[in-house]
């Protein structure tokens, strides 16, 4: 059974070339991918994630507003009962924001320029770690 991944774009930034590249690459790698479309409110992303019972949420943010939007999304996920869903973030993420994002609970960051190969490997790693933590099955996609 393939892991389900929600590729989501919070905020008003409409640049979704990266989000779609990631969606296609994950699909080609065997994952089941749901794409929210652009301009989603964090609370709506959380609702979709819980309703669709996804195994991971990937946020794509290129507006520079990643700190505020990730914080809002993680809080919304907790409130929606999806606090255990691992969150990863891609986009224009400066290196000095990686640690603060991890402190918010982000499992991995994929800054602009990351290769799709590295991204797919990183997603596998996060899912495997999460599965080990929750003593579930290990995803092989």
């Amino acid at each position: 059974m393939a892991a389900r991944i929600l590729v989501a774009k919070p905020g008003l930034d409409g640049h979704d070339r990266g989000a779609k590249l990631v969606a296609v690459a994950l699909r080609d790698a065997g994952f089941e991918v749901i794409y929210t479309g652009i301009r989603q409110l964090p609370v709506d992303i959380a609702t979709i994630a819980v309703q669709e019972n996804v195994d991971m949420v990937g946020l794509s943010i290129l507006s520079g507003a990643h700190m505020a939007l990730v914080r809002k999304t993680i809080i919304a996920l907790e409130e929606a009962g999806g606090g255990d869903i691992p969150v990863v973030v891609g986009g224009t993420i400066p290196s000095f924001d990686v640690e603060p994002l991890q402190e918010l609970g982000v499992r991995a960051t994929f800054p602009t320029g990351s290769s799709l190969t590295d991204l797919v490997a990183g997603v596998h790693k996060v899912l495997d770690q999460h599965a080990a933590e929750t003593e579930g099955t290990s995803w092989t996609s």
Partner: protein, 525 residues
């Protein structure tokens, strides 16, 4: 195995000879179908416009940057607006608070626009606005600021991008569904044709198709197909002929790195548009058939690793644009992939095109590549490719249907994916990225942060405007707008009344949302 092609896949021969070219199709500059350029004397008497895109934070900060750019020899302004202003939210909306003033200047009411253009003579400077969803509102504000400066409408020069179709597929600042959005765009086109004759009511933009992944041929085809859709909308109302409004349509593209392909793209685009306007729409005025366009050199063709290399990329792209016959150019700063360009990097980018204009001699003769076996042949091949893509879009039921079904979005996403895989496989080479890479981490992306003081200034101004304005006038003009939206009147005069009553962007947008609803995006990839 040895197929050599351009980025868009057009075949390239090792050498070209006379038999590659149909000499009868080359023509002359200034003569329809304008393959060799719109004007018979090219740049000899008038160079292209040097127009650097800029805007951030509050109106005060952007106004200062504009004055600086003009003092350095810039000849036009290009206004970047923040995402709340582009998507129809006010700065005090808690859903969008983190985006205020971030990627452009925040405009809530006419009060902001008055400060933005303070001390800038709107009768002698032309202004381009990258604005789409709320374009009609921003146009209304520009007209109102002009009136306050004592500049009559007929003297205002500039462009609103006002191209909603590519927002649905690529750039994302849509608000209403396609049908009412096209109506509002047609209203602005009619209004400009009747009252603001030197202002381009629309800049049909391929640039964003390109930056979201389309290749050069797709970029041109999608743009021309959008242009047809807008003309259809205006013509079908029966209130204006093509010749009354087509001279105020302009176009906008990205120039990326494939030098000759870009030149061929612009030459083929001019020829195609002239034929469309003449044959399909029956234009008689040669000005209607002119394909006037602006470009950006930069965008997705720039990279963060070894970022100084971007200076060279931009210079080559600028030269390709000029050899392609551009009317207006923005050369991006080398640090754009990861930072809000500094005054220094912005100035250098402007200098790049000034050197091109004043030192290289490329502007001495018109269309210096005209008659080149290779360039003419590539122009013909590009035109054929563009025609084929346009025929496919027509077969999908036209642009609106192809967007609503997600067909265009998928076309672009597939091309973006193909290009990314080619980069990762080393089939497409980028110096400093997958060739001659040095392993150094690229510079960190640092966005502009509106500081607390400026945020407060923006909020205070909005609160102050709301307190001081005449509430009766606000509700009266908004109600009139809503009523007009239900009918077929041109909405521009209603919007100008709202703007002059200091209604906010979101108030006007929300009235129209309640009449028209919102766009439902296809979630395809």
């Amino acid at each position: 195995m040895n197929d050599v092609t351009t980025d868009a896949g057009l075949p390239v021969r090792p050498v070209y000879e006379a038999d590659a070219v149909d000499a009868s199709r080359i023509g002359l500059p200034g003569e329809s179908p304008f393959t060799r350029g719109n004007f018979k004397d090219g740049y000899r008497h008038k160079l292209w416009t040097f127009r650097q895109y800029s805007g951030f934070g509050t109106a005060e900060e952007s106004n200062e940057r504009y004055r600086y750019l003009l003092s350095q020899g810039g000849t036009g302004l290009s206004v970047a607006l923040d995402l709340p202003s582009q998507c129809g939210y006010d700065s005090d909306d808690s859903d969008v608070e983190e985006e205020v003033g971030k990627v452009g200047v925040a405009i809530d009411t006419l009060a902001d626009a008055e400060i933005l253009f303070d001390g800038i003579p709107l009768d002698s400077i032309s202004t381009s606005f990258t604005i789409n969803g709320t374009a009609a509102i921003i146009l209304a504000m520009y007209v109102a600021v002009g009136e306050k400066q004592g500049v009559p409408r007929e003297k205002l020069r500039g462009t609103i991008q006002n191209d909603i179709l590519k927002e649905y597929t690529s750039r994302g600042t849509w608000i209403w569904p396609p049908v009412p959005s096209l109506r509002l765009i047609a209203d602005t086109i009619e209004f400009c044709a009747a009252e603001v004759p030197r202002f381009n009511a629309i800049s049909v933009a391929g640039a964003h198709f390109r930056d979201s992944g389309a290749n050069a041929a797709q970029e041109m085809a999608l743009t021309l197909q959008d242009g047809i859709t807008y003309c259809d909308e205006v013509v079908s109302r029966g209130r204006m002929t093509i010749d009354q409004f087509a001279p105020q349509i302009s176009f906008f593209f990205y120039t990326h790195g494939d030098f000759f392909e870009e030149i061929a793209k612009y030459r083929a685009g001019r020829r195609r548009w002239a034929e469309i306007v003449t044959d399909r729409f029956g234009a008689k005025n040669p000005k209607s058939a002119m394909f006037r366009f602006g470009v950006v050199c930069g965008g997705a063709s720039l990279y963060a690793p070894q970022a100084q290399n971007n200076r060279v990329r931009v210079a080559y792209e600028a030269m390709a644009s000029v050899l392609g016959g551009v009317q207006s150019m923005f050369t991006a700063a080398w640090d754009e992939p990861f930072a809000l360009p500094t005054e220094e990097s912005t100035t250098f980018a402007l200098r790049t095109q000034q050197i091109l204009a004043y030192e290289t001699g490329v502007a001495r003769t018109v269309d210096p590549l005209g008659g080149s076996y290779f360039v003419e042949s590539l122009t013909d091949d590009m035109e054929d490719r563009v025609k084929a893509i346009m025929a496919d879009l027509e077969a999908q039921g036209g642009m609106v249907k192809a967007i609503e079904s997600g067909y265009v979005q998928r076309l672009i996403a597939e091309e973006a994916y193909r290009s990314q895989l080619a980069l990762e496989a080393g089939e497409r080479l980028v110096v400093g990225v997958n060739k001659f890479a040095d392993g150094q981490p690229p510079p960190d992306a640092i966005g502009y942060e509106l500081d607390a003081e400026n945020r407060k200034r923006q909020m205070d101004r909005l609160a102050d405007v709301k307190k001081r304005r005449d509430d009766g006038q606000v509700s009266e003009t908004l109600n009139a707008l809503g009523r007009a939206a239900r009918g077929t009147d041109n909405l521009m005069s209603y919007l100008i009344n709202c703007v002059n009553a200091y209604c906010t962007v979101a108030e006007m947008v929300d009235v129209l949302k309640s009449e028209w609803g919102e766009f439902e995006q296809p979630r395809v990839f």
